[in-house]
Symmetry: D2
Subunit: 102 residues, 4 copies
């Protein structure tokens, strides 16, 4: 994923719509959490087994909600100067120490 290029697209997108005034880190964290719940809503009454056999429509809905989540993640990283790739790689290392393999 070419993060730099996508972040640039999102910056231009917000600027053209004058949305930056709404996009405080606090508001972006709220929006991200609301989108994560919209994703969860898809699965809420499914059994775990059913959640492994989604219909094409459910997959597409899931894709859209996941994309919304990642768009807010990228907006938040941009606002706070967070290097997402570094953050993810660092956390994977941290988890490897915290939860050693058997």
């Amino acid at each position: 994923m070419d993060l730099k290029s996508i972040e640039q697209t999102l910056t231009t997108f917000s600027e053209k719509r004058d949305w930056d005034k709404f996009h405080s880190p606090k508001n972006l964290a709220i929006a991200l959490s609301v989108e994560a719940s919209e994703l969860l809503e898809i699965f809420q009454w499914l059994t775990e087994e059913q959640s492994q056999k989604l219909s094409q429509e459910q997959i597409q809905h899931t894709e859209e909600e996941i994309a919304d989540i990642v768009i807010y993640v990228l907006n938040l990283c941009r606002k706070l100067n967070i290097d997402l790739e570094q953050a993810v790689l660092k956390k994977i290392d941290l988890n490897a120490t915290k939860y050693p393999a058997k």
Copy 2:
């Protein structure tokens, strides 16, 4: 971000810990939503203005929570064969149509 390589790392990580049995799409969506709330918790009593001037410690905490969110996003994409980059680019196009620039 080299998504393929990170997804491969996460696959190996889960396999070595025998976590795959917990990682139904339903459970991953729950975990993602719980992590999104842990991120939100950092901002919950801050004003929007304060959220723009985080301390180094708050930034680091934010980085860790964002990384957790993205790790669950990648696990979910892997389980459901979702191409994250395509999903994000498609959603940006969709948003551009839904919210035309002034």
Copy 3:
């Protein structure tokens, strides 16, 4: 609030619709969290100040989301034999110890 009477109404409601099979404590906790996000969505792009001056329509929307939350709370208490009033009073005492008044 006559909790016993409302809980009884909710029990009959679920039974008549054969919803009990969906209402595992896990699923009720998911539903509650999804409803809490729908409440939060009302406030997501408002400033704190604007959130203090809601329109009649926003108040009504807020009332409906809060009611959904409390309905899932009551369903969960019923399933787990939790006495809600006792739980709330106990937590207020706990908070008073944890956060002593200045």
Copy 4:
């Protein structure tokens, strides 16, 4: 549940701690959503079946999180002059119309 008396206790509690400045409706909605996720976290890796057989410790943890949720619900109702009992009864009626019994 004697809502009026509990709401009065909560008002005094916030006043004594000078917390009212943090308790805008927006912030209370965030806090409520964060608490709902803390409740969900208890169930996140349990199967639906396991969620029906909680340990005494898990029940107690659940009670505390539910109490936190209801405390924020009551604070929000107080701030917005919402009559919780009326809101719940009204929503049950609405649901009965929306989802007619078979």
